[in-house]
């Protein structure tokens, strides 16, 4: 029953929470792609 929150599977609860999905969808690519990428670029030695 949709009204009884305890009967809803955990995965469905996650998928029904748009703000949790928003958090995950921003954080994962930001960490793996942007932050990791920028850290690598910042560590490239500057030519003299």
């Amino acid at each position: 029953m949709a009204d009884n929150n305890d009967d809803v599977p955990v995965m469905q609860k996650w998928l029904d929470n748009p703000f949790l999905l928003l958090f995950l969808g921003i954080t994962i690519p930001t960490v793996l792609y942007i932050v990791w990428g920028v850290m690598e670029i910042a560590n490239i030695p500057v030519a003299h």
């Binding site: 999905l21 690519p29 793996l32 670029i41």
Partner: protein
């Protein structure tokens, strides 16, 4: 803010009045952007066709910039904003959150689009879609993109706000519909995309007006592709949602498994944006770990998700058709599909072209080693014309055939042309994508004004096949442009001169969404889908063969065996 709701007598859909106006506004802005981008496409294609070579270098790069920005940013994002409003307010039977802010955001997008186009056509911002630094455009090129992005970002938040409104006002129970979930995926990717754009375009704007001395070119490329590629992943989520919607509209098809389809979207939310790293695979500054983790290990989860959607959409159609009695053999359900209905034919051509041409080539390009075969060649536009033009634009075109009577309340004019338009445009684009990829495999560079390098001290002798394929790109590109122009003309004329249709009942309160009850225990299982399974196996075979052929090609280039 009080609003009214219109019940469409043709579809049964319920439109919040303000949301409906906004959808029409965004659809029209999208089509106008497509018109500008399409005219520019003619300039691009007639210049890259070696026998014609129409434009001078300066004009070509200006036209190419306008084509890229108008098609890849303005057309698709305007249309996607219409999809977000539709998937929230209309499908959830609720009012749109903050309609005044939505109008302000929409006009901000229009202002931004006009500003960027003015900058391009003034001729001093021919930096192309990627606008790589240290090439510098005029300040209003960047400012226009920023304003457009801010407007789009606000509409994404209005979409999320509308989900909150629908839940608070209990216009639906349980989970949001699958199409809305697909739109939510597109919205989340859009927010990442726009944030990435803001991170890099705001400092680049200040650089263009002299407040910042320099922008690191590699830093720009990495962060910019968070915008450039992810914006195309908004398309993927949106057009997959449209595939599900058209399957439901045309066939009454229900998803084979809501859980599986939602899990596939969840994989998109987590991993699809990482494909941005494809563009950096040949850059020396980034480690192989960063490249491979982003484009291979994690990105393959998103590829898996696309393959799931590619199977569940035709599978749902097959189930619906078999329930109607089309049970003979493996493919009666497909043979008896309404191939003359442009909404269906557009959707199916979009699905097959996106999977076979765009999907397989995209995975091949995403392998770091194989990427070296085709990096910065015209193979890359061949790939993304398969994903964005065949996959996204064709799906959007198909949905529009449904929207003209439902949203604009007009009958579609020239129904005979509507039957052939998806084939004219779609199949021509199939060939364009294939020959572009063929020419790219031979090394023909992307973007270059003159593949012959005429007058250069060290000319390069291309094989005849490269010229042949660029010639075919020109011929079929023109055919596709005729198909696209015909669609624009048909839609615009239908909106202005099509027979007016009944508006439907206007209400002051919404009717809540009622979902069908779950199937009772012991209910008959839906029919099996052997035809879809065969299609999936053909796809996998093509995938494996193409992957193998490219590794073999790479090994022969390097002379390792």
């Amino acid at each position: 803010m009080a609003t009214t709701y219109r019940i469409c007598p043709r579809s049964g859909l319920q439109f919040d009045t303000e949301a409906e106006k906004l959808m029409r506004f965004h659809a029209v802005c999208g089509v106008l952007s497509l018109l500008v981008g399409g005219i520019m496409a003619l300039g691009v294609i007639l210049t890259r066709w070696p026998a014609v070579h129409l434009l001078s270098a300066d004009v070509f790069y200006m036209v190419l910039t306008a084509h890229g920005i108008d098609m890849l940013i303005f057309w698709i994002i305007f249309f996607e904003m219409a999809v977000l409003i539709f998937a929230s307010s209309t499908l959830l039977h609720c009012r749109l959150a903050t309609p005044k802010l939505a109008w302000l955001s929409s006009w901000l997008m229009v202002l931004g689009a006009i500003m960027t186009n003015v900058a391009i056509f003034q001729g001093e911002s021919s930096v192309m879609f990627t606008s790589y630094v240290p090439m510098q455009a005029k300040w209003h090129f960047y400012l226009g993109l920023i304003l457009f992005a801010v407007g789009a970002l606000l509409i994404c938040f209005i979409f999320l706000g509308t989900l909150v409104v629908a839940k608070a006002e209990k216009t639906y129970e349980g989970s949001i519909p699958l199409v809305t979930f697909g739109a939510l995926t597109a919205c989340i990717i859009a927010i990442f995309t726009i944030a990435s754009g803001a991170i890099i375009l705001i400092p680049t704007f200040f650089w263009s007006i002299g407040y910042i001395r320099e922008i690191d070119s590699l830093m720009y490329r990495v962060v910019w592709w968070g915008l450039g590629h992810s914006s195309q992943q908004i398309n993927v989520s949106a057009h997959v949602a449209i595939w599900y919607a058209i399957a439901a509209i045309v066939f009454g098809a229900k998803p084979m498994s809501e859980k599986v389809s939602r899990t596939a979207y969840f994989l998109y939310i987590l991993f699809l944006q990482l494909a941005s790293a494809h563009h950096i695979l040949s850059d020396p500054g980034m480690s192989s770990e960063w490249k491979i983790v982003n484009t291979s290990y994690f990105m393959y989860f998103a590829v898996l998700a696309s393959m799931i959607h590619g199977m569940t959409v035709p599978g749902a159609i097959e189930q619906a058709q078999r329930l109607k009695g089309y049970n003979k053999g493996l493919f009666e359900w497909l043979r008896k599909a309404p191939w003359g209905n442009p909404a269906f034919s557009s959707m199916f051509l979009s699905l097959i072209g996106f999977g076979f041409l765009g999907g397989i080539s995209g995975v091949m390009m995403g392998a770091e080693q194989l990427n070296m075969l085709i990096h910065n060649t015209i193979y890359v536009p061949g790939h993304f014309h398969a994903t964005v033009v065949i996959g996204t634009t064709l799906a959007f075109m198909g949905l529009t055939y449904f929207l003209v009577p439902v949203l604009f309340k007009r009958e579609v004019l020239f129904p005979g042309f509507a039957k052939i338009q998806p084939y004219l445009f779609g199949l021509a684009m199939y060939i364009v994508s294939l020959v572009m990829m063929g020419a790219g495999t031979l090394g023909v560079s992307r973007r270059h004004w003159d593949m012959a390098f005429a007058g250069a001290p060290m000319a390069y002798e291309w094989p005849g096949a490269a010229y042949l394929m660029m010639g075919l790109t020109g011929i079929f590109g023109v055919v596709a442009i005729v198909g696209g122009a015909g669609w624009i003309l048909q839609i615009v004329l239908s909106i202005f001169f099509g027979k007016k249709l009944e508006e439907g009942e206007i209400r002051s309160t919404p009717i809540p969404l009622t979902l069908p009850p779950p199937a009772p225990a012991g209910a008959a299982h839906p029919p099996a889908t052997p035809g879809t399974m065969v299609l999936a196996l053909i796809f996998l075979t093509a995938f494996i063969l193409y992957y193998f052929v490219n590794w073999k090609y790479l090994s022969s280039l390097w002379g390792l065996s």
